[in-house]
């Protein structure tokens, strides 16, 4: 049906043009422009080796993936029960839970990160309370280290996981659960043997979205991290702003882009198999 295909392309055209004009073209232009700055291939190769194989970027990639993995795991552990409650809730309770998740999302990440800094500091609210109750003798180090980064990022990324899981949980046909119950399964069995497997594609989608967003994070680790909590976005910013070494920034950008695209490929495989009907 050529007419249907044509209509499809026409409807896609604005989105494609947007993607092409404001993403592909500028980024291609930036990469090409930066990488053709070199006088010779030898010079390019020397710089590439220094940027990509010096150990710094490997350590930073390890950091980035380690933080990303820890945050994703925490977000999943916290997000799954919340989504489950949300998918079961009705009326006012549903609205209340949804508001709690979505409302902070309307505030800028910087403001929310600063709010955490007020809570987590050495003389912050949490330490004051714990010291006041006599539970600790010296302030806990909750900020300017890995702990601070993970707390801050988990909070910022939670809504993405909850909303993704919620969609998957809502898609589960309640009659399947009723059937399992009717056939004598205990509530635990219904949950673990029927409900959870049916939401697994949602878990994978949520994990990948969270992880992809986490590895590109900048504000939270920059504000809440310690001396060695350097993530790749911070390293790229340093090359752009501080040393104005744009070729190096371009190379690091490619590394981040490749990692993200690989993960996206995995994501789309699972997303395609979506929704058991």
């Amino acid at each position: 049906m050529p007419l249907g295909r044509l209509a499809g392309w026409l409807m896609l055209a604005p989105a494609l043009a947007l993607l092409f004009g404001v993403f592909l073209l500028p980024i291609g232009w930036f990469l090409a422009g930066s990488l053709t700055d070199f006088a010779s291939f030898a010079e390019f190769w020397e710089e590439a080796q220094d940027v990509l194989f010096s150990g710094t970027i490997l350590r930073v990639l390890l950091n980035t993936n380690g933080i990303g993995a820890a945050v994703t795991l925490l977000v999943l552990v916290i997000g799954y029960p919340v989504s489950y409650a949300l998918s079961r809730a009705k009326g006012l309770v549903f609205t209340a839970i949804l508001l709690c998740i979505v409302l902070p999302y309307f505030t800028s990440t910087i403001v929310r990160t600063y709010a955490w800094m007020v809570l987590l500091g050495r003389t912050g609210l949490i330490n004051q309370i714990l010291l006041g109750l006599g539970l600790i003798d010296a302030p806990l180090e909750l900020m300017y280290n890995r702990t601070g980064v993970i707390i801050g990022m988990t909070y910022v990324l939670l809504p993405y996981m909850v909303l993704t899981l919620f969609a998957a949980m809502k898609a589960v046909d309640p009659r399947l659960l009723q059937a399992a119950e009717g056939m004598g399964a205990s509530p635990a069995t219904v949950f673990f043997r029927v409900f959870m497997p049916l939401t697994l594609h949602g878990v994978i989608a949520g994990v990948l979205i969270t992880f992809i967003l986490a590895i590109g994070f900048f504000v939270t680790p920059a504000l809440m991290g310690g001396p060695d909590d350097i993530m790749i976005a911070m390293l790229i910013e340093r090359e752009v702003e501080l040393t104005q070494n744009w070729p190096a920034a371009a190379m690091m950008t490619i590394v981040l882009l490749v990692v993200t695209l690989l993960l996206y490929a995995v994501y789309s495989r699972f997303a395609d198999r979506e929704a058991p009907r």
Partner: protein, 355 residues
């Protein structure tokens, strides 16, 4: 029949416009000669400058002054794209030096100055393409509740002595523009006048000794001030202007002028700017003694016109970098050395941080 999205081919200039959108909005109005567009650090700085410099300048000359924000990278992007959207650049001397080496700046027209006298400007900040409009200092600050009376750190060697002066500390990160390698070398016994060229390896070896006590390396003045006032750290390096603001709000903090590092904020003019002439005049106007004394006092920065000190009380002079304080105990950061070595030091620094 196939349809491709090619009818949406974008013009290169159009993209450029999109990339540099904010100043482009102002550019439309800049066609007249009656406006100078200035890059500034923003925030309360703009209010002070508006009151003591821009408004009086407009009253005197009829030339309007518009301020815009732009990072160093954005300024370079503008220049490279041959699309300079502002006239006067008011930024760190190091960033201006980068633009100067790229050939982006016009010479400062010292010979045509009407309001200021070139010979009154401190020698170290008077350069052919850049002229300092104020100086500020990185000083050693400490908490007066932790270190009472005279028992406080008085030098960078003291800062490095964690046995005698215990407590969490901070120093500047590379991301602030440059790491405090100078202070490490001073602590290790290098004399003030022999710091440059910096021995980076030695400085980092000294840094390694104090690293366990460093809670964080700060990247912005705001963070440095916040960490001191929230008691996240009890001593550290900080810019004097930021520190004074916190001290004036009654935080239990003090500092020593001993071994302070002087850094320079400078004016530069894009050679392809729409209003080079207006920018030259604004630079001239800004640097005259009375005008400079007003904004420098308000911001607790040091004046670069030495005659500005004539209107300072001894008390005002005591809290100001430059003048007697600086001649006795300070040193100028060598931005040319940093310019040549920033790339290398930045990578070495990252590697050191991650070790």
């Amino acid at each position: 029949m196939s349809v491709t999205p090619s009818p949406f081919r974008l013009h290169r200039r159009l993209l450029l416009g999109a990339a540099l959108a904010t100043p482009a909005l102002h550019a439309g109005r800049a066609q007249t000669q009656g406006e100078v567009i200035v890059r500034t650090p923003g925030g309360s700085y703009d209010d002070v400058m508006r009151r003591f410099v821009y408004d009086p300048f407009t009253a005197e000359t009829g030339i309007r002054v518009t301020v815009v924000a732009a990072t160093a990278a954005k300024l370079i992007a503008m220049f490279r794209a041959n699309n300079v959207e502002l006239d006067l650049i008011d930024t760190g001397d190091a960033q201006l030096l980068t633009l100067e080496r790229l050939g982006a700046l016009a010479p400062i027209a010292y010979d045509r100055w009407r309001w200021s006298k070139p010979e009154d400007i401190t020698r170290q900040v008077r350069n052919p393409h850049r002229v300092g409009n104020f100086i500020y200092a990185s000083v050693l600050a400490y908490n007066t509740e932790t270190f009472r009376g005279d028992n406080h750190p008085k030098s960078w060697a003291d800062f490095w002595d964690a046995g005698k002066f215990a407590g969490p500390r901070m120093l500047a990160d590379m991301a602030s523009g440059s790491a405090n390698l100078e202070f490490a070398l001073l602590a290790d016994g290098v004399p003030r006048d022999q710091l440059y060229p910096l021995d980076v390896d030695r400085a980092l070896r000294v840094m390694t000794r104090i690293r366990p006590q460093i809670r964080r390396f700060w990247d912005t003045g705001a963070l440095a001030a916040q960490m001191l006032s929230d008691r996240e750290v009890v001593l550290g390096s900080i810019w004097n202007g930021r520190l004074q603001t916190v001290i004036d709000s009654n935080a239990p903090l003090a500092y020593t002028w001993n071994e302070h590092m002087i850094q320079v904020q400078s004016l530069g003019i894009f050679k392809d700017a729409r209003n080079v002439e207006g920018a030259q005049r604004l630079a001239d106007f800004m640097l005259q003694p009375q005008i400079q004394a007003q904004y420098a006092k308000a911001l607790v920065f040091g004046p670069t016109n030495e005659r500005a000190f004539e209107s300072y009380t001894p008390e005002e002079a005591a809290r100001t970098p430059g003048g007697e304080n600086s001649r006795r105990t300070g040193f100028y950061q060598d931005v040319a050395w940093w310019h040549e070595n920033r790339d290398r030091v930045s990578r070495t620094w990252s590697r050191w941080l991650l070790r």
